[in-house]
């Protein structure tokens, strides 16, 4: 694939790499320390959390994140001294078991030697690591991988003769907070895997055992990358570092058929006995169709119309997962799919191929666009036929949705018309919640 041309961006659908502070913040017991200008991580909070389902924060997120607030003095004379003061006090003031320094644009451009600021603390045994994540190097997804790799290399460290646990999986899904539904998604996938007999390191959120879980990364039988491209870099690194294999499942499972296939694939890859898994599948399927069956009444005989054709804008993970579910399991007609997460060029061909057949005889029309102006322009040109269009997207698509007289359901960054807590649109439970959400929106107003 050719090198992509540079674009200006209106209405960005992602944060910059300093947004990866929220990757740290999502680890129970971990504290990000921001080494850059006075407004950087505060800005990212709005794209990552507040204006993304009003997720909020626990632990060291939101206003609690320590930072250098580097000023003119640090630009002219270097920021090492100020950073040292912030680290020294953060270690004492914040309740943390792992401290991650994230360096942004300014220290990188003025050439601060952050490693030597941190070195004495590391030598004294403080659990502190450093990631260089200047915003001009990448977005929050790139930053997420950088931070995860920094923790693996500088905190988890080298291991020799570690005992692998056959049923322990390291689960790598979307980036915390950036994925609006990450908390619910982790709960659902962990629930499914545990029911089949696995133990799961989830690393982030309510179900994570925190930094201890990170320490146990090398003990896992394999890494499960459940995303189109994000975290592949992490899995490949772990393969090299610990000779740990990985299983890449690019499409998040949504609905009974996809979720059952997903679970069987993982069980088969792990080579564990499938009795538990099959029993669980039977139970889950029964429940799922109990509700799906109820939904049939509405779907079959609602007089007043609802959307038949849909477009979607969002990160690669949700984009393909929801497109597949709607096209394959509900029978909505896909009009266009816009991936807005700046998927690295080297993965684009592979990701685009996932849309080749969304369902039997149903083909995708996928494009990678980051500039919101062009995205909205593209949607505006879509022909949705004569019924009410369904647009799955973000708050940035509000205006074009209005122009097209469409139903807009926010399914990713930015989401300011949703308050999201423990919600998921994936797996068995998530698919039903997704149906509820889409059709509640369709019948309201």
């Amino acid at each position: 694939m050719a090198k992509k041309p540079h674009t200006t961006i209106t209405h960005p659908h992602y944060a910059c790499s300093i947004g990866a502070a929220y990757t740290v913040s999502a680890i129970p017991g971990a504290i990000p320390i921001i080494n850059c200008g006075p407004g950087c991580v505060d800005q990212q909070y709005f794209t990552m959390s507040f204006c993304n389902g009003f997720q909020g924060s626990v632990g060291a997120g939101g206003g609690d994140i320590p930072g250098t607030n580097s000023g003119e003095n640090e630009i002219v004379f270097g920021g090492a001294k100020k950073l040292d003061g912030v680290i020294k006090s953060a270690l004492k003031i914040m309740k943390g078991e792992l401290f991650v320094v994230l360096s942004g644009c300014s220290p990188q451009l003025v050439g601060d030697d952050v490693a030597s600021v941190i070195k004495p603390y590391r030598e004294q045994g403080y659990p502190i690591v450093h990631a260089e994540v200047p915003g001009f190097k990448g977005n929050n997804l790139w930053g997420h991988e950088e931070v995860v790799l920094a923790i693996i290399d500088q905190f988890v460290g080298e291991t020799k003769g570690v005992h692998r646990r056959r049923k322990l999986i390291n689960l790598w899904m979307g980036a915390p907070y950036f994925n609006t539904f990450w908390r619910g998604d982790i709960i659902e996938i962990k629930r499914i895997l545990e029911a089949a007999g696995f133990e799961v390191n989830v690393f982030f959120g309510s179900e994570s055992a925190g930094v201890d879980e990170w320490k146990s990364i090398p003990k896992a039988a394999f890494n499960l990358v459940l995303s189109p491209w994000l975290n592949l870099r992490v899995a490949k690194h772990l393969e090299e570092k610990y000779d740990q294999p990985y299983l890449h499942i690019p499409v998040l499972p949504v609905g009974e058929e996809a979720t059952t296939a997903f679970l069987r694939q993982v069980v088969e890859f792990a080579g564990i006995d499938n009795t538990k898994a099959e029993k669980f599948i039977e139970k889950e399927s029964k429940r799922y169709y109990y509700f799906f069956d109820h939904f049939a009444d509405f779907f079959a005989e609602y007089w007043f119309g609802f959307p038949s054709q849909f477009a979607i804008v969002g990160d690669a993970a949700y984009n393909i997962a929801l497109s597949k579910f709607l096209a394959d399991q509900i029978g909505l007609i896909p009009v266009g799919q816009i991936i807005s997460d700046n998927t690295p060029v080297k993965y684009r061909e592979e990701v685009a191929a996932l849309y080749d057949e969304l369902s039997e005889g149903v083909y995708g029309n996928v494009e990678f666009i980051e500039d919101g102006y062009l995205i909205e322009h593209k949607i505006s040109e879509y022909d949705f036929g004569s019924s009410t269009p369904l647009i799955l997207g973000s708050s940035w698509e509000q205006d074009v949705a209005k122009e097209k007289n469409a139903v807009l359901v926010e399914v990713g960054t930015i989401a300011t018309e949703e308050v999201v807590l423990n919600r998921t649109y994936i797996g068995y439970t998530g698919a039903l919640q997704f149906i509820e959400k889409v059709y509640s929106a369709a019948v309201s107003g």
């Binding site: 961006i9 407004g39 794209t47 939101g62 609690d64 607030n69 914040m94 004294q124």
Partner: protein, 521 residues
């Protein structure tokens, strides 16, 4: 009198240099009034030696803390100002992250449009989306391309450029590019040197964006509109018309939600005022000095005393003294029974105010008029003087003179880690707050927050009623906060939570070395 506002200069001096602003202080409000030496420092008296120039000699003492938490920057403020003009476009010359707060400004913009009776729509702020190569080779061409794109896509009346930390460090020349594009596109192109590291307080960003509007948009050949009054505002509801229409005045809000023409005509107005001198003083003073548009020499319109004085000052300006007196008398009569009722209900209630500087002074007046006890407040910075520099605008002094001292008056730039110690010194049944980061921790400590999104809410006589009623509703939320308090924790160490003095580290930085090992337990 010598002119102090220098619109011929590319940019405005930082607040800490121009006004002696500070971001870290703790004491009694009356002490801060004393130390501020407002009158001596006033630029219209040429400032006290050093204050306006090198900051030497009479800089207010600050408590330098080794620990910081993050809040806003000047770049972000410039975006929430110049990026929220209806028919202009802001281009942020930056990596994508400097635009990450824009979704919130979009919420504010959409709400603001609705409040002013205009169809809500999204803001159009562009970023040049700079990458690593741009840091090495420069990005001027990308900025020019962005300007042409903005022109083509949005047909703006003017374009703003904003500087970020990275583009400032690599030495992008916003001004030359702006004048080049101005010639090419035939519309004003206004550069803003608002890189985040430039000033220690974000409010310098207000001045920078106002400076850009004054230089590039304001009509340089004004035709007077004697019934027009400028109100420097944010996105607030149009409560000012209710108060100013009886004086025969039309309100011209600047800068959020305004149109290019509304900004241009500010030089034609009869006078200028604001809901907050922290925000509005630079703009008002510039219009006064450069275009002879007088600024209202009065306290801010909060509480009975402030609102009375504000209305009288405006009336004097436009020759409507009689109308004003009638209006004031009628309004007092109208709101009195309701306010008596609220005072009764709010008896024994304690409040705590955390907002931008002079806005807090106004809010405390409102709360005290309602009979709410306020023994503590955090202002996010303190300007010892405003650009206007008129005695009547000394808001902190007005507060202390009219309503008495505030025992625990703290200057702090949104530092949530200090909140436990700050709130342990006073009784607080609720907090009133603007800006993010602090209220969630108050919530976890069992204290509900009244987050004032509509900054005009407390203005005027009706503002007293609005605030009183809102406080009663907020107090009810304490139930939720008590649940939180019973079940969740703050992310701070027990050692820190046991500290009584929020500024202990500034006074005794050696404490960090002494107990370094214990912190590791």
């Amino acid at each position: 009198m010598a002119k102090n506002i220098q619109l011929d200069l590319e940019t405005v001096e930082n607040r800490e240099m121009r006004l002696g602003s500070i971001i870290s202080w703790d004491g009694k409000a009356s002490e801060l009034v004393e130390l501020s030496r407002y009158e001596e420092r006033a630029l219209r008296h040429k400032g006290c030696p050093g204050a306006g120039k090198n900051g030497e000699g009479c800089r207010l003492c600050e408590l330098n803390m080794p620990f910081n938490q993050q809040s806003m920057c000047a770049n972000s403020i410039a975006a929430c100002q110049a990026g929220n003009i209806r028919d202009c476009v802001l281009i942020q010359h930056s990596p994508v992250g400097c635009t990450a707060r824009n979704p919130e400004f979009n919420l504010a913009f959409r709400n603001g449009l609705e409040r002013r009776g205009i169809e809500p729509r999204n803001i159009n702020i562009m970023t040049t989306n700079l990458l690593e190569n741009d840091m090495v080779f420069g990005a001027s061409e990308k900025l020019k391309k962005a300007a042409r794109e903005a022109f083509e896509r949005y047909n703006p009346k003017a374009i703003f450029f904003s500087m970020s930390c990275s583009t400032a460090i690599i030495g992008e020349d916003l001004s030359s590019i702006a004048s080049e594009m101005e010639d090419e596109l035939g519309i004003p192109v206004a550069p803003m040197q608002c890189e985040g590291f430039r000033s220690k307080h974000w409010s310098t960003g207000f001045d920078i964006s106002q400076h850009a509007v004054l230089r590039h948009i304001v009509n340089k050949h004004p035709k007077k509109q004697p019934d027009l009054i400028n109100i420097v505002a944010l996105w607030g509801t149009d409560y000012f018309t209710d108060m100013l229409k009886p004086l025969g005045l039309r309100v011209n809000y600047i800068m959020d939600i305004a149109s290019f023409d509304e900004l241009a005509q500010t030089s034609e107005a009869a006078c200028t005022s604001t809901f907050c001198h922290t925000l509005g003083s630079y703009f008002a003073t510039a219009l006064e000095e450069v275009y002879g548009v007088p600024q209202v020499r009065a306290p801010q319109p909060y509480g009975f005393a402030g609102t009375d004085a504000w209305l009288r000052a405006i009336a004097k300006q436009v020759g409507k003294e009689k109308e004003a007196e009638e209006f004031i008398a009628a309004e007092h009569e109208r709101v009195k029974p309701k306010i008596e009722e609220l005072r009764e209900k709010l008896k024994g209630v304690n409040g705590f105010v955390l907002t931008g500087s002079s806005y807090a002074h106004g809010l405390i007046s409102v709360l005290r008029d309602l009979g709410v006890t306020v023994d503590g407040s955090v202002v996010f910075h303190h300007d010892p003087v405003y650009d206007g520099g008129y005695e009547e605008q000394n808001t902190l002094k007005t507060l202390v003179d009219n309503y008495g001292d505030i025992l625990h008056f703290t200057v702090g730039k949104c530092q949530p880690f200090q909140l436990p110690a700050l709130l342990s010194r006073v009784k607080a049944d609720f907090i009133i707050i603007r800006h993010n980061g602090l209220a969630p921790n108050a919530a976890r400590m069992g204290i509900p927050s009244f987050a004032i999104g509509d900054e005009h809410f407390p203005v005027g006589y009706d503002g007293l009623i609005r605030v009183g009623e809102a406080v009663l509703e907020v107090l009810a939320r304490k139930k939720m906060n008590q649940v939180l308090r019973r079940h969740v924790e703050l992310p701070y160490s027990d050692w820190w939570l046991s500290q009584k003095d929020p500024f202990i580290l500034a006074k005794h930085p050696e404490i960090l070395d002494e107990e370094a090992e214990e912190g590791q337990e």
